[in-house]
């Protein structure tokens, strides 16, 4: 293992860093709550907004929330997540194709 004193300073540095990260995460959380409230409001008072605006809008908000979850809560922005993210995005790609197909070439 490393030298202890070196370690201690690095521990403090790390603590600071993760405390800062924690604040960011909390901010993210507030934003997520905010987005959620907006989504619900825009639907609950749907006479305020045209529905062909609301649908893409709340989907966009959902998309942003997912990015938040992935990159802030699940630390996908940290080093060592290249492979996981490669596979996640491949999965998203397959998911997208599936949903697209089911919205277009499944008839009723």
């Amino acid at each position: 293992m490393e030298n202890n004193s070196v370690h201690r300073t690095s521990v403090e540095y790390r603590r600071k860093k993760s405390a800062k990260e924690m604040r960011n995460q909390f901010l993210t959380f507030i934003l997520m709550i905010f987005f959620t409230v907006i989504s619900f409001v825009s639907v609950a008072y749907n006479d305020l907004f045209p529905s062909n605006f609301v649908a893409p809008f709340i989907l966009l908000l959902a998309g942003i929330q997912v990015i938040f979850q992935l990159y802030y809560f699940m630390h996908a922005s940290h080093k060592g997540h290249e492979m996981p993210m490669f596979f996640m995005y491949s999965g998203v790609f397959a998911a997208f194709l599936t949903i697209l197909a089911f919205l277009t070439i499944v008839w009723w």
């Binding site: 492979m83 596979f87 491949s90 999965g91 790609f93 397959a94 194709l97 599936t98 197909a101 089911f102 277009t104 070439i105 499944v106 008839w107 009723w108």
Partner: protein, 629 residues
């Protein structure tokens, strides 16, 4: 069996195999399990061909015939081809990347046992009456209509074995990502490892849709839901989409590792490194990627509309490009090489023209307006047997011969190998070539019989003869295996003499910890590089140290057994569509699930740190473990 095993009692050997987590032993299990199902599927194929020997033969009833090809297709794809590939992947991939085992030895074993119990469950259908009879595709309108429990065996059996496959896929992925020896960069990995990697990613993304849709079908049949029931708002096309969203990647799951096996064999026996390695890698990735965007080419006649048909047609044909890259790279690998004709090499040589024929008929089917004629005819049957038998089965047979010494320490007889190859090769073309024309002449597939006077008699007769030649070939191979095993003549590390990748630096079969010291990789074809420099083994990347090993465990068997038991409860639950619910069903279901989840809980609560082989013991071990010195 290996020599160590022979000295112990049968019970001990059996227990060893039930509890093993060693990838090499699991490879044996996959080989025997998959081999067993291959014979079963082959016998079913022969029965199909007997029934179609002449018009209106009446060798078996129409119901039985439908069950026969359904089980043939399902068994061959899910229970024979894939597990046999897993056998070779398990046996070889960890060695190729310089790992002591896979990333999750426990899950490796669990994957096998899930496959095995799922397969057994599916095949119990033969014993308990109705076997599935709606085709391996089980299109929803028919599979809901199907009487008896046949389709339930299909859904439950495939569900169980599907979990196993998914687990194995993830396991290979993590192994390849994390367990590579120092210096083994991605762009130095042997082709079999690369194709395993890509095929495993396809498994990861293709099996979940299958899982979902099989659940729907199961719910519809066992719990009267309405996913596919048109009268209650359901939609049968959903099933078709899901099946092929899974099904098309599935065929690449089969063929990519086969390509990998051939890549190894061709470069070994040409004594040349693989031509265009990076484009081979690129082509593999591209095939995997495109493989997800073409599924609707199985549904050109479903009525998806012109736009969809046109898009999927073009996307389908595009796959010819990366596949072509591979074909030409193999040819150019041989070009300028020093080609030695051995049994594995013969299969590789047989593979190239056979697969190209199958591939180009695939492209013809990809031409949507032409596929309106070809779809659901024997032309399709011909196409996919050309790619599957000419590609995958050839690869399996080639791989079995090639890696036999590495897996069992003995060499299969060359002479019998030649005979097997010649018979199989001729029989294969005899069986399936004519089927292109049967299809073009108007013979639909999946017909229990055909009428005379429609010009189909001769073709079917020829086809059946060919099938029997393949049967004889396989019997000869079995004889070969038995003779070789009885003789038990041990071979050295590099029995083919031209081995290039790391597995050939190890003993045959490798010692249970594979590498005494983790090797250091200095380039593509590690062992070849060392050999060329006159070294007797690999360069170690670390000093000799204790080796950490996982413990054997019986839990995977119990977990799988639990699901196997639960499946019966599920099938006979009181709500099932057949209406023969049993009072014991729900308790059995619960007991089964408790066994499974209980064992899983125990597994996660009980610490299992494995054990260590002390350095001293390793120093005294006569095994070299692949390392020079």
């Amino acid at each position: 069996m290996s020599s160590i095993a022979e000295k112990r009692s049968v019970g001990a050997v059996l227990w060893e195999y039930l509890t093993t987590v060693d990838h090499k032993k699991i490879a044996h299990l996959y080989l025997f399990g998959g081999g067993f199902f291959f014979l079963l599927g082959g016998i079913e194929a022969l029965l199909i061909r007997i029934q179609l020997l002449k018009p209106q033969f009446g060798f078996m009833s129409e119901e039985t015939f439908n069950e026969m090809f359904t089980m043939h297709g399902t068994t061959m794809i899910f229970l024979a081809a894939m597990p046999l590939l897993f056998a070779l992947m398990n046996a070889v991939v960890p060695l190729q990347i310089g790992a002591r085992d896979v990333a999750f030895p426990f899950l490796n074993s669990l994957g096998f046992w899930l496959f095995f119990f799922g397969g057994v469950f599916l095949n119990l259908a033969w014993i308990f009456g109705d076997a599935p009879d709606a085709g391996w595709t089980s299109y929803a309108s028919l599979s809901l209509f199907s009487e008896g429990h046949g389709i339930d065996y299909y859904t439950l059996g495939l569900q169980i074995s599907g979990f196993g496959t998914l687990i194995s896929g993830i396991n290979f992925l993590v192994t390849i990502i994390n367990m590579r020896a120092p210096g083994m960069t991605f762009m130095r990995m042997p082709m079999l490892t690369w194709t395993t990697f890509i095929a495993s990613s396809l498994i990861l993304f293709a099996f979940p849709p299958l899982t979902a849709s099989i659940f729907f079908l199961m719910f519809d049949r066992l719990f009267t839901t309405n996913f596919f029931d048109v009268t209650a708002g359901g939609n049968t096309i959903i099933w078709e989409h899901f099946f092929w969203i899974f099904g098309h990647p599935e065929v690449y799951i089969l063929i990519l590792p086969s390509f990998g096996i051939f890549s190894e064999i061709i470069s070994t026996f040409s004594r040349k490194r693989l031509f265009g390695y990076s484009s081979m890698v690129f082509a593999t990735i591209l095939i995997g990627f495109l493989g997800f965007m073409v599924w609707a080419h199985h549904m050109f006649t479903t009525g998806l509309g012109n736009v969809a048909n046109a898009i999927f047609a073009v996307a389908t044909m595009a796959i010819a490009v990366p596949t072509g890259i591979k074909i030409f790279n193999w040819l150019l690998t041989m070009w300028g090489g020093s080609i030695k004709i051995t049994v594995p090499m013969l299969y590789a040589l047989g593979f190239i023209p056979s697969f190209v024929i199958g591939g180009v008929t695939g492209v013809m089917q990809g031409i949507a307006p032409l596929d309106y004629q070809l779809h659901d005819t024997y032309f399709i049957v011909a196409h996919f047997h050309y790619v599957i038998v000419g590609g995958v089965v050839f690869a399996l047979l080639a791989g079995a011969h090639f890696y036999w010494p590495k897996m069992f320490g003995t060499m299969l007889s060359e002479r019998l190998g030649y005979i097997t190859f010649v018979l199989f090769f001729i029989g294969f073309h005899l069986t399936f070539f004519i089927q292109h024309f049967l299809g073009l002449w108007g013979m639909p597939r999946r017909v229990a019989t055909f009428l005379s006077g429609q010009g189909l008699d001769m073709g079917n007769f020829i086809s059946s003869i060919g099938a029997f030649m393949m049967g004889i070939a396989i019997v000869i191979m079995l004889v070969n295996i038995v003779i070789t095993t009885v003789k038990n003549q041990k071979v050295g590390n590099d029995p083919w003499e031209d081995g290039r990748t790391m597995e050939w630096a190890l003993e045959s079969p490798p010692v249970y910890y594979n590498f005494k010291q983790t090797p250091f990789v200095r380039g593509i074809d590690t062992y070849w590089i060392e050999k060329m420099e006159g070294n007797k083994g690999l360069t170690p990347a670390e000093p000799l140290d204790d080796i950490h090993m996982p413990n054997n465990t019986i839990m995977p068997v119990i977990i799988s057994l639990g699901l196997f038991i639960a499946a019966f409860g599920m099938m006979y639950n009181p709500m099932n569509q057949v209406g023969d619910g049993k009072p014991w069903a729900i308790p059995v279901l619960i007991i089964g699930l408790c066994i499974t989840f209980g064992t899983m809980l125990i597994r996660s609560i009980k610490d299992d740190h494995g054990y260590h082989i002390p350095k001293e013991e390793l120093m005294n071990d006569k095994h070299k473990g692949g390392i020079a010195s």
